[in-house]
């Protein structure tokens, strides 16, 4: 056995993680997958730990996934969401941080609209901070669950050709995928309207396709991003209809691909905009598998940041069967 991989206090992004750390999280997620398949979906590994899910932006999907992960590990959880709660309303992030610290919280899972907010919080409180999406920066657990899903279906990630399609400029999912996949040895490309591709992205080792047909011809995996309606309103694209016509992932386009292409989407989907229903519901779509894996990945992250040892994850899973 190689020496134990250590984790820091926080998970703010995949840019700062090593290959060994990422692989460890994916490996630890494997035994946790099985817990969700049991009739009694609970193990006591985080019993007595308090976790706050602090969501400044609404995201039912990510919050629920984290909450299931926390509950299945027996943690005590509190949800605070941006709209309407007094701890957040009108209070600065630094004051919220101080309040959380005063309440002796063990872990904070935070979704925030500003890039760097997770780092900001992590620098100011002793609790573990898990970034559940900060602005346009990173969404590390989404990146990890995407990688776990690709690994499940492709048998590995190294050397695989993955193209992220859509609004790369504003996407934290794209950044976490790019950093994580590159560390695991995948070839990463992006494709979308040039107005939604950040300048300088080639400098971080990413290929850019301007036409989705070229991307499909090249890729083994397409990670299709949600197109926010605001992008049209802000003038990045002229219309959703035109976006669908030139960048939408349709069966007709995929049929011209030289191979089967695995389809991921972080959800929620705009059917008929970035992805057609026949693709989303088709044989190569692993979109629901991503949702299932999301819970396992979040359990693995919570377990490891709480100090759980990677080697004992398999045993931890069995604890309540004694």
């Amino acid at each position: 056995m190689t020496k134990t991989v250590e984790f820091g206090k926080d998970l703010t992004g995949l840019e700062g993680l090593s290959l060994a750390q990422i692989t460890t999280i994916l490996d630890v997620a494997e035994p946790f997958k099985e817990i969700s398949e049991r009739p009694i979906k609970k193990v006591p590994v985080l019993r007595g730990k308090t976790i706050v899910n602090l969501f400044y932006e609404p995201s039912t999907r990510t919050r629920v996934s984290f909450e299931f992960a926390e509950k299945r590990l027996s943690a005590d959880t509190v949800n605070i969401s941006g709209s309407g709660s007094s701890i957040v309303k009108g209070e600065s992030l630094v004051d919220t941080a101080r309040n959380l610290e005063a309440m002796r919280i063990d872990m904070v899972v935070m979704r925030h609209g500003s890039s760097g907010a997770a780092q900001f919080l992590a620098d100011r409180i002793p609790s573990n901070v898990i970034n559940a999406g900060d602005g346009q920066h990173e969404h590390p657990t989404q990146g990890l669950l995407d990688m776990l899903t690709i690994r499940d279906h492709m048998g590995g990630i190294e050397g695989r050709r993955v193209c992220i399609v859509g609004d790369i400029l504003h996407s934290r999912v794209a950044r976490s995928n790019i950093y994580g996949l590159a560390k695991l040895g995948a070839e990463v490309a992006v494709c979308g309207p040039p107005t939604l591709i950040p300048h300088g992205i080639e400098d971080i080792g990413v290929t850019v396709f301007k036409r989705v047909e070229e991307a499909i011809e090249w890729a083994e995996v397409l990670n299709v991003l949600r197109l926010q309606l605001e992008r049209m309103e802000a003038g990045y694209i002229p219309s959703l209809r035109e976006y669908n016509r030139f960048f939408g992932i349709s069966v007709a386009r995929l049929e011209r691909a030289p191979r089967d292409v695995l389809i991921l989407h972080p959800g929620p989907m705009n059917r008929g905009v970035e992805i057609d229903s026949h693709v989303a519901d088709g044989p190569h779509s692993v979109i629901l598998r991503q949702v299932t894996n999301g819970v396992a990945i979040r359990m693995a992250v919570l377990y490891l940041l709480a100090g759980g040892s990677p080697e004992r994850a398999e045993a931890a899973k069995m604890e309540n069967r004694a």
């Binding site: 890039s115 760097g116 346009q136």
Partner: protein, 431 residues
């Protein structure tokens, strides 16, 4: 009148007279009374031994934000003028983007009066170009000038209406009032918060492309050429803007330019970690831009150094990067940064640096400063060109601490500053 002062044995550097020699300097009745060897001290004269130190015309900063009226918790005219003399500046030009803005003669008079009352650096008001800084209606530029404004600017924002800009430049030329331009094409900078490039992409922060500055500087130079008005480009940060200014100067356009110490010293790497103390507008740029603005300053394409001293309360900076305000303080670190990164680094010698921190900016704004010629105002900085010190913001005289240089070792330390023949800052006594 204060006592005469004799500064004995210092190295006097006065580029306005091409002077760099070990000499004495005599100040009487608020004016320079003589420079020479072994000057005799008149009766009642205070004699100060400044051997081993540089004696130079007080530094001139064309670009500071003193926040009064309206944001006195960030800075007041008095605290800013005190910080100025601590940094060796004896004349500063206060930008009009206060609350309310300095857009009428009474407001100009207020800034002057507060400056005089404080009694530290001379505070010269800059008047607004447009009423309320709204970019719509021209201010009474002649009246502003008569009340004491030395320039006009809507700094913080560009004058985006080219028609208004051309009329203002044309009209102001009747009064020999320069226009200080914050050159930014807002449609290109959009909601950017840092330089656009690899680092903004990796941090997920919205970028401000170089083109936002380049396009605006080009337009401003073209309108200056059209009108014959006097254009001064504030805070040049891009290699493109340097080339545009160079070309305009070659065509004979009346344009000058300044660069800040932070744009001469730092790249957008300083933003990593979402450091709001490295957030300012224009943003810190790439290494190629930093070397271009340094070269331009050496060549004279960029005429002078100005701080864009922009104080902010710590609460405003202690927040999410997107929400933190733009701006850094600079008055108390400018000399230390410039000596370290320009003189010690071998790019400029001391007389050339003093030229760019004192003589040239004084000329651009037509201020009675930037020289120690006999009869000129006794505004003097005395500094230790080799003095190394660590930048500790808690020691600032400014009410704000938002500096990207905290903890850095700087070279060149102000020992004494005299304004109108009075010692207004003296490290030997203060701390």
């Amino acid at each position: 009148m204060s006592r005469p002062i004799l500064l004995q044995g210092g190295r006097i550097i006065d580029p306005s007279q091409k002077l760099d020699e070990r000499l004495d300097l005599l100040l009487v009745d608020g004016r320079v009374a003589g420079i020479g060897q072994a000057l005799e001290a008149p009766a009642g004269c205070e004699v100060l031994d400044v051997a081993g130190l540089i004696v130079a015309p007080g530094l001139v900063d064309l670009h500071v934000h003193l926040r009064e009226p309206g944001d006195e918790h960030k800075e007041t005219i008095a605290s800013g003028a005190r910080a100025a003399v601590a940094g060796g500046f004896t004349s500063v030009c206060a930008m009009p983007n206060t609350r309310p803005p300095i857009d009428d003669p009474a407001a100009v008079g207020f800034v002057r009066a507060q400056g005089e009352h404080a009694g530290f650096a001379h505070v010269y008001p800059v008047g607004a170009v447009s009423v309320g800084l709204k970019g719509e209606e021209m201010t009474e530029i002649g009246e502003l000038g008569a009340a004491g404004a030395v320039a006009i600017s809507d700094d913080g924002r560009p004058v985006w209406d080219s028609g208004l800009l051309s009329r203002a430049l044309e009209y102001a030329s009747a009064f020999d009032i320069p226009y200080f331009s914050h050159s930014e094409e807002l449609g290109l900078s959009a909601k950017g918060v840092m330089n656009e490039g690899t680092i903004s992409t990796s941090l997920g922060l919205r970028g401000i492309p170089n083109a936002a500055e380049d396009a605006a500087v080009a337009r401003d130079c073209i309108i200056a050429e059209l009108t014959g008005g006097q254009l001064h480009i504030l805070h040049v940060s891009t290699r493109g803007a340097v080339e545009i200014v160079r070309a305009a100067k070659a065509r004979g356009v009346r344009v000058t330019a300044e660069v800040t110490p932070h744009h001469l010293s730092l790249t957008d790497e300083a933003v990593r970690g979402y450091r709001t103390e490295a957030k300012m507008n224009p943003p810190l740029r790439a290494a190629a831009d930093v070397s271009a603005v340094r070269d331009a300053l050496v060549e004279g394409v960029i005429d002078c150094i100005a701080t864009d001293h922009a104080p902010h309360h710590y609460e405003d900076k202690e927040r999410e990067f997107d929400d933190a305000p733009f701006g850094v303080v600079g008055l108390e670190t400018a000399l230390g940064v410039c000596v370290r990164d320009l003189v010690v680094a071998g790019r400029l010698d001391l007389p050339e640096l003093i030229d760019r921190l004192s003589c040239r900016p004084a000329k651009i704004a037509g201020l009675p400063a930037g020289t120690l010629a006999e009869g000129s105002p006794a505004d003097v900085v005395v500094f230790d060109a080799e003095g190394r010190w660590t930048c500790q913001p808690e020691e600032f005289y400014s009410l704000s601490r938002n500096t990207p240089f905290a903890g850095q070792e700087l070279v060149g330390r102000v020992v004494m500053t005299l304004v109108s023949g009075r010692t207004v800052h003296n490290r030997r006594e203060d701390r």
